[in-house]
């Protein structure tokens, strides 16, 4: 047996089994909930998280979330088992197991979340863990690129989700989904409906890779195969679908919802199915069929018809079962033959009969052959499409085209590599798959058959509760039956099979045609790279324009911005009050202080020596400190005096180390410009202060601190009590900034000194 990664340590064997045990335990935890949830109950668990912000860590379990939870933990257990063997002996297997388990828990949190904030946090966690997993082969530049691409696209969707849920939360006055549903009902008529819906749709479409955001998903196949099977097929990419389903009762029923989901879902489904035929890499083919499934789900979530929703929920389950199995089989084939090229692979059925059997089971469900669950799913989809009031032709047309192509793809990935002659030499002589890797696909394939034969339990325990959850009320959902009689759906199915077989027969020629066409068509990937390059270029240009590296430019920009903001505020103030204030400082000490400040400023402006200018500024600072003393604020005055002293010392030290620069006098044009800015700033501040003192000072805060300072914080110096007790968190933030600034200066100053030491 060929093992790719050498010996496995015993510790790693334990690491491989831990997530399996965890997943099985979680699965076992959710199974007993089937009873009450199936009876229409909703289980809710909540903990206070940030009570001052009204944010709870809360979970609710209804039909929809329970179905997802079972899929995540159930398939998760099989995937963990598979990966323990797939990556056995890999030097970074521990890291892989950690990422994958972290993802599993994040995904679980996402589908169980009640609070929108909780949902968002877990949503972002799935994005991050997905990034880590796609980039697991981090020494490969393509992996890194594809990982960042997925991160950017889904991260942008996450931003949209955050904005959307904040608007929704603000409109509803709560972040709890269950409360929003109870109190707001359908938001179709709400003033803020359009922004909320658009933002949620953006989040769902990026996460679930709908056209035109689809391009990251096939690229995400750079991840190890178990990851592709789990994240980019069975679970994570369905998070977008989950969001659509979850928000269905609140957001559906409008033109915006129906049109965008129908059109984008339909386009995605058909486009992806065609692309799937075009691929020669087994994983890429499966990646595009995943896109097709996501498109179909989106398409069917557009409607309000219980039949269509039943179809969507059934298909969601069907797809998770067969797609995870097929991906795992692709991994086995890759492992055993060293290639995933569909044009080379062939004749594996004789050496790998069990793998071939599992593949046949899963692919039959994918093609929708009876008596597999895939057949029932497809029948209900057709029946649901037929019952739509609008978009009937479009939905059915897209459905038939996509499903016929799925029949062809099922043949391409599960029949041809195993039972048709090989098209080339594989790198290794294949042998049957290891048991640990075969368990997953076998169980999933067998389930596809079992649920097809006995759909009753599935219907009552999982599908119907999920449909009720999506519809937001108890509805009459479609029955899951293998034989529903001779009806339109049956004929559509037969037509699909016929079309599918023809397409399979023609697929080699079709692929050549598509490849020729593909070369002419614009590529989303090229566009993406151009977009990133443009962004970097633009950022560099902007930085060069603004960040000149000349300190006086920065000072000028800062003051001009301040001038614009304050001046604007003054001009647009509708009720300006200009009352000439009474000056309590018009006594001898006050006047002297003013004189000191004025002459200090004048000195700093007129001198051409740096040291003199610094001394002048120091005089201004001391003048300000004296004002604080006059108004009896000793703490502030002491601080001001000490800071001024230290600034002069620092400036002097810095000035001594500077190279001999030209004197301070710049060109007269620059000087006049500076003078203009200074005078403008001074005038605006003066005007502002005159307005401020004209209004009586609001003393509520002062009074509060005066009253509470001693009894509550045991201190009589209010300034200090505020700093270290009432607003200690602010102070902590400030001293952190101080330390960071000092470390930054330390890093900047350190190398110069070392250079001098060397010299």
């Amino acid at each position: 047996m060929a093992d790719d990664y050498g010996e496995q340590t015993p510790a790693m064997a334990v690491v491989g089994w831990l997530p399996v045990v965890l997943s099985v335990a979680l699965f076992a935890l959710f199974v007993p909930m089937l009873g009450p949830v199936g009876a229409g109950e909703t289980l809710r668990y909540s903990w206070e998280w940030a009570p001052s912000l009204g944010i709870d860590l809360s979970f609710w379990i209804d039909g929809l979330s329970l179905m997802f939870a079972l899929l995540i933990t159930g398939i998760g257990a099989l995937i963990h088992l598979y990966s323990a063997r797939y990556l056995r002996g890999h030097p970074q297997f521990g890291r892989f197991a950690l990422y994958l388990t972290a993802f599993e828990l994040a995904m679980l949190g996402l589908v169980l979340a009640d609070s929108l904030i909780t949902l968002f946090v877990f949503w972002e966690l799935t994005t991050i863990t997905s990034f880590l997993l796609i980039g697991f082969n981090h020494y490969d530049p393509a992996s890194r690129r594809n990982a960042t691409q997925a991160l950017f696209v889904t991260g942008a969707g996450g931003m949209a989700l955050l904005a959307g849920l904040i608007i929704l939360g603000a409109a509803a006055g709560t972040f709890e989904l269950s409360e929003i549903r109870a109190s707001m009902g359908n938001l179709g008529e709400h003033v803020l409906y359009t922004p909320i819906a658009i933002l949620f749709l953006l989040a769902a479409f990026t996460k679930s890779a709908q056209v035109p955001f689809h391009f990251w998903l096939p690229n995400a196949m750079a991840a190890p195969t178990p990851v592709s099977a789990y994240l980019h097929s069975a679970t994570m990419v369905k998070a977008g679908v989950y969001l659509l389903a979850r928000m269905h009762p609140n957001l559906s029923g409008t033109d915006l919802w129906a049109w965008s989901l129908t059109i984008l879902g339909g386009i995605t489904a058909v486009f992806a199915s065609i692309m799937a035929v075009k691929q020669t890499d087994m994983k890429q083919t499966l990646a595009y069929t995943t896109l097709m499934a996501l498109g179909t789900l989106t398409l069917y979530l557009a409607s309000d018809v219980p039949y269509a929703i039943t179809g969507a929920m059934t298909f969601l389950l069907v797809h998770s079962l067969y797609k995870a199995a097929l991906f795992l089989i692709a991994g086995i084939v890759d492992h055993r033959t060293g290639t995933r090229d569909l044009e080379i692979l062939g004749g594996l059925g004789r050496t790998m009969p069990l793998t071939a059997l599992a593949a046949a089971l899963a692919a039959s469900s994918m093609a929708g052959f009876p008596p597999f669950i895939g057949f029932i799913g497809k029948e209900i989809l057709y029946a649901g499409g037929e019952r739509l009031a609008e978009f009937q032709i479009w939905t059915l047309g897209a459905g038939i085209a996509a499903n016929a192509l799925m029949v062809a793809v099922a043949g391409i990935v599960a029949f041809k590599p195993f039972w048709r002659p090989a098209g080339g030499e594989a790198m290794r002589t294949p042998v049957e798959a290891a048991t640990m890797m075969l368990v997953g696909p076998a169980i999933l394939g067998a389930l596809s058959l079992y649920f097809g034969l006995f759909p009753g339990g599935l219907q009552n325990d999982l599908i119907h509760p999920a449909v009720n959850a999506v519809m937001g009320e108890k509805v009459k959902a479609a029955e899951l039956k293998l034989w529903a009689g001779v009806n339109v759906a049956l004929f559509l199915s037969l037509a699909t099979f016929a079309l599918g077989f023809i397409l399979y027969g023609l697929h080699v020629r079709l692929r050549e045609r598509l490849a020729a066409m593909g070369e002419r068509a614009p590529s989303f990937d090229v566009g993406w790279d151009a977009l990133l390059r443009g962004l970097v270029f633009g950022a560099r240009r902007l930085t060069r324009t603004i960040q000149t590296g000349v300190l006086r430019d920065y000072v000028r920009y800062t003051f001009l911005t301040l001038l614009a903001l304050l001046g604007g505020a003054l001009i647009f103030n509708t009720e300006p009050v200009y009352v000439w204030p009474k000056f309590p400082v018009f006594e001898i000490p006050g006047l002297l202080v003013c004189l000191l400040i004025f002459s200090g400023a004048l000195l700093a402006t007129l001198t051409s020596s740096r040291i003199t200018a610094i001394a002048g500024l120091g005089a201004v600072g001391i003048g300000v400190a004296l004002i604080f003393i006059v108004f009896s604020a000793p703490d502030v005055a002491i601080t001001q005096l000490l800071v001024e002293t230290l600034i002069v010392v620092l400036f002097a030290a810095a000035a001594l180390r500077l190279p001999k620069l030209p004197r301070l006098t710049g060109s007269s044009k620059v000087r006049w410009g500076d003078a203009l800015v200074s005078v403008a700033i001074g005038s605006v501040i003066a005007a502002l202060i005159i307005q401020i003192v004209a209004v009586p000072l609001d003393l509520r805060l002062t009074e509060y601190f005066e009253v509470t300072s001693f009894p509550e914080a045991f201190g009589r110096n209010i300034v200090n009590v505020i700093l270290v007790d009432f607003r200690a968190l602010d102070t902590f933030g400030e001293i952190t900034v101080v330390v960071v600034a000092a470390l930054g200066a330390y890093a900047l100053l350190r190398p110069t000194r070392r250079k001098e030491d060397d010299a």
């Binding site: 703490d635 045991f714 001293i735 330390y746």
Partner: protein, 139 residues
């Protein structure tokens, strides 16, 4: 620029300034002062020493690197904030202990607030000395 008078006075001055800075730190809760001011005064003390003698000597007198002092201060301030967690209160809720308190006197008050203020003191002193020592140079 060595001045013998300043050099001789510096030792006394530094001692006085440091003592004064601790005094300001401790009285801060009820009278003008506190960790910020105390830290500034302490920093001024060492700056005077560095100007009068030499940065190298000032560094030796301080014994620890100023940047370490600043970071230790930040850690102490954090500990001061976290102390509240031991008593089940929110982050940065002041915790007080009055040692030897009687009917009419509060005794010796000790608090997490003081720990926090000591952290502030060290941060301010350490940060400023990091700047000054590096700017003045060791040469």
């Amino acid at each position: 620029m060595k001045s013998i008078i300043l050099h001789a006075a510096a030792r006394v001055l530094v001692a006085l300034l440091l003592l004064f800075s601790v005094f300001m730190l401790l009285r801060g809760h009820n009278l003008p002062g506190g960790g910020f001011i105390g830290g500034l005064i302490g920093a001024v003390g060492f700056v005077v020493y560095a100007i009068a003698c030499d940065v190298r000597e000032a560094r030796a007198a301080l014994r620890v690197a100023p940047e370490d002092l600043a970071m230790a201060g930040l850690g102490i301030a954090l500990v001061g904030g976290l102390m509240a967690a031991l008593f089940g209160d929110a982050f940065f809720t002041g915790q007080w202990l009055f040692i030897g308190a009687t009917e009419d006197s509060k005794g010796l008050p000790l608090s997490s607030v003081l720990v926090f203020d000591i952290g502030v003191y060290l941060v301010v002193m350490g940060s400023i000395l990091t700047l000054v020592f590096n700017l003045e140079g060791d040469d």
